[in-house]
Structures are given as structure tokens and as C-alpha cells.
Amino acid sequence: MERLWHGLVDPLSFAFMQRALLVAVAVGILCAVVGSYLLVQSLALLGDAISHSLLPGLAIAYMLGLNLFVGAFVAGLLSALLIQWIRSASPLKPDAAMGIVFSAFFALGILLITWIQRRARIDLNHFLFGNILGVNAVDVLTVVGITLLVLGLVALFFKELTFCSFDPLGAKAAGLPTERLGWGLMVLTSLTLVASMKAVGVLLVLAMLITPAATAYLLVPQLHQVMLLGSLFGVSASLLGMYASYYLNVASGPAIVLVASAWFGLAFLGRSLLGKR
């Protein structure tokens, strides 16, 4: 028991572990809260599309010497706009529009990064799979700042966002600006993905959006409970993943995602054994 305690606490004397801890907690909560909305609106695929689309933004921001978070955010929003445009101005179904846009963005991102790599040493893997142990102080400030901002906005607009998610037509008829709220959710999603990319990487961040929220969804009946319990699953997954990354020297993204998936598996099996549908 004491060895376990030391195993958990001792690494925290390193500054890089303290930074990782903060990011892990922030990302765990943030992803579960925003992911709950994506989950109940069947927008998981859109989260995936936006996350893959962050990559060219990162690359271009790097080339121009701009803030990587800003570059990624702009690229994420741009992809959401493009998807919406293709959907509304053609007979294509949403999944096709998303597939086209995110693979194009992702391809462009890979191309630009491999091109940058000819001249500068950057590790593509860190973008793709995350490196929570490598975040610097500015990263931490940005991630915590985004988390507080997004959580504040969700708290502020919770009743409107929830009404719109549940019954968009009823909400529109009642006079809520459902389209603007929908775009607001896209902005929040992009911010969340940007904040999470350093910890989980753009390839796997979808799992943090959906899996903890989905796990909670199996267990509790109200949206705010899904968010709270999902946060618990998300935070514990990112913490355990962080330690796995420290002790086993593996990429943090896959480690975090596997823990989150394990929580889901346990909840799913437990429910099935209890005979619930």
C-alpha cells in the first residue's frame, strides 16, 4: 500500500509531472462535459472530423511562428464551416461531407508536417498521439484557461443548449436561436479538442470526448449527471494514462484512451450482467 502511494506521489515532485497532472484533470473534465452534448446529439463523427482537421492548423501556425493553439482552433472551426457548407449546398449526406473534409485537412496536415521535418526537428507522433509529459507552462495555462472558459459557457447556457439538443424544433419554435447555439457548440468543441490535443493527440482525442460520457450515459439518467460522472471517468483515465506514460514510457494518448475504454467495458458488462438493456 505504501509502495503504491509512493509510486503515485513521488513522481509529482517533478515539475513536468505537476504540469501533466493539471492538464490531465482539465482535459478529463472538459472532454466529458462537451462530449456529453456531442453524444446526445449523435455528433461523435463531427468531433472526429474536427479533431483530424486541427493538424494543418498546427503545421501552418508552426511555419509562421504563431501560437499553435490558435492555429489549430482556426483550422478546426474552418473544417466545421466547410462541412456545414457542403451539407447545405449539395445533396450529400453529413457523413460524406465530414469524411471528405476531414481526410483532406488531415492529408494536408501530414504533408505540411513532413515537409517541415526536412528542416526542423519536430515529432509528428506528439501531435498524433499526444505527450502529456511534455507540456510546458504556457500549455498548462492555455489548457486551464480554455477549460475554465468552456465550462463557464456551458454553465451559462446549460438550459438553452440542453433544450436545443433534446428538441431542436421545439426550441426553435419557442424562439431560441438554435442555429447560433449549434455553432456555439461547434466553437466549444473546437476549443475542447485544441485543449486536449497535447495530452491525447488528434487521432485519439475523439475517445476522450465520447467514451467517458458514454460510460456515464449507461449508468445515470440525467444529462448533468452524465457530465459529472463522465468527468470522473475522464479524469481518472487521464491520470492513470499519465502514470502509465511515466512508468512504461508509452505515448500518453493511447494509454489514456485504453483506461477510458476499460471503464466503458466494465460499465457495459456490469449493466449487461444486471440484465439492463
Binding site: 446526445v40 438550459k159 433544450f163 428538441d167 426550441a171 419557442a174 439518467p221 440525467q222
Partner: protein, 253 residues
């Protein structure tokens, strides 16, 4: 757009909903063409027609939920405002696995009246609770909405509409596949709303006995075929215009 020098009275008494030349097109398909109608307060207005006649689209077009190709809708001489409208969508438009309880859904009726950046207050909760009692669902507050019968779900949505304290109540196929007690409660509440001077519009799917309980019927099939009392509209020659030949047989039975 809507600048007023004097504040509007809370309930514009006796204002009708006036529909002029309402035309809706989905892509190349013209769903509704040139509908002219006046829907009066104080009565239950049924919107009827065969499948694909555009009944639901008519309701959505009225409420601004789908874009109009042409036409306009005026209420008390003005454009409709959201806070005047409570809408109950078709059951199929709702994801019943959504993580919400009965109470969560009824409270949504108070979202718009409460306004931005504010929590739903004591008064709002009281009204929501009252609405839930009114439809006989008070003891189901904490039940997940997915674990109710179809009729109970409709009653919860009617309670949500009541909690909105609107002037215009629009229900899309509320009677589809629901139990007899729920249907009775729905009609009772709609009757009270109409008696209180509200506009009540109901899209209805068949020509069964329930029809007699409407005060006014709009018969649609892409265009407005007829408007009047159920007795006036349900004449064989009128129905044949809307439904074609086949209907006269089933009506006679």
C-alpha cells in the same frame, strides 16, 4: 425590425393567425402551394389530409420552422414571435433515449420565459409542477422519459407546452398510437386552452371519431381543399378531392 412605441398587451385578445399564400418547397418538390387560411383563437383547429399532404410542413411553415418560398404569417397584424408559441413535435422527431427525466423535459418549457443567464426560479418551477399535475403525470417526475408509454410521453410534452405559457399551441400528430385515457386528457387540456382564448392547432392523422371533437377543420393536400366545421368538411365530395376515390368506401363503413 419590430419596433413598437407602446408595449403590447400581454394577450392580444382575439387575434387570429392569418396565413397568406404560404408556399413551401423542399428542393424540387413543392410541398405546399398558396395556402390562405385564418385560424381563430378560442377553438381547436384540426389540420387534416392524406399522407404526404404537407400537414406537418404546414404547421412548421406557420411557426417559421421551415423556410417559406412565398407567403407570410401574421398574428395580431405582426410577425409571430417565439415566446408566443408552444410546439409539440411528432414523436418520431424526438430521441427518446436522451438522458432526461420527465421533470427535466417539463422544465424546458420555462427556458424561454426565464431568459438568458438565469436559472429557472421558484415561480417557474411552480408553473412547471402545475402543468405536470394538469396532465396527470405528477407522480412520474423522476422517471426517465424513455421509460414512459407513448401516451404518457405526449402528456409530458403537453405539460411542457403548458409551462411555456404561450398564446398559440401547435401539436403535430399528438394522438398517433396513444392510449384512450391519454387522448381524453389531451383533448380536455386543449379544450381548456381554447376556452381561455388561445389558438390551438392539431395535426391529425386519421378520419376517426376524434374528428367530432375539433371545432374547425383544415383539409389539406398540397393546397387547401376546405376549411370549416367537421360536418362541413367531412362531406364525401370534399373528401374525395383530398383523398381521391378510395376514401368514400372506408368512410361509408
Amino acid at each position: 425590425m419590430k419596433k413598437q412605441s407602446a408595449p403590447l398587451p400581454l394577450r392580444p385578445a382575439g387575434g387570429s393567425l392569418v396565413v397568406r399564400d404560404l408556399t413551401v418547397r423542399y428542393g424540387s418538390l413543392q410541398v405546399l402551394q398558396g395556402i390562405q387560411a385564418e385560424i381563430a383563437p378560442g377553438r381547436i383547429t384540426g389540420i387534416l389530409g392524406p399522407n404526404g399532404a404537407g400537414k406537418s410542413t404546414f404547421l412548421k411553415g406557420l411557426l417559421g420552422l421551415v423556410p417559406l418560398e412565398r407567403g407570410e404569417v401574421r398574428y395580431g397584424g405582426q410577425a409571430l414571435r417565439g415566446e408566443q408559441v408552444a410546439y409539440v413535435p411528432q414523436r418520431s422527431a424526438i430521441d427518446w433515449t436522451f438522458p432526461a427525466t420527465v421533470w427535466d423535459v417539463v422544465l424546458m418549457g420555462q427556458v424561454k420565459p426565464t431568459g438568458w443567464f438565469r436559472r429557472i426560479g421558484k415561480e417557474g418551477r411552480r408553473r412547471a409542477a402545475q402543468a405536470l399535475e394538469r396532465v396527470g403525470m405528477g407522480s412520474y417526475r423522476d422517471r426517465p422519459i424513455g421509460r414512459l408509454s407513448g401516451g404518457q410521453q405526449q402528456r409530458v410534452f403537453l405539460a411542457r407546452a403548458l409551462a411555456q405559457e404561450a398564446e398559440i399551441y401547435a401539436l403535430d400528430e399528438p394522438f398517433a398510437g396513444i392510449d384512450q385515457p391519454s387522448e381524453a386528457i389531451l383533448f380536455q387540456v386543449m379544450r381548456e386552452l381554447a376556452d381561455a382564448g388561445h389558438i390551438v392547432m392539431v395535426v391529425h392523422h386519421d378520419l376517426g371519431q376524434a374528428l367530432a371533437r375539433f371545432d374547425e377543420v383544415l383539409l389539406l393536400n398540397r393546397v387547401l381543399i376546405a376549411q370549416g366545421s367537421p360536418q362541413q368538411v367531412l362531406q364525401p365530395q370534399v373528401l374525395r378531392q383530398a383523398y381521391g376515390q378510395a376514401i368514400s368506401l372506408s368512410l361509408a363503413a
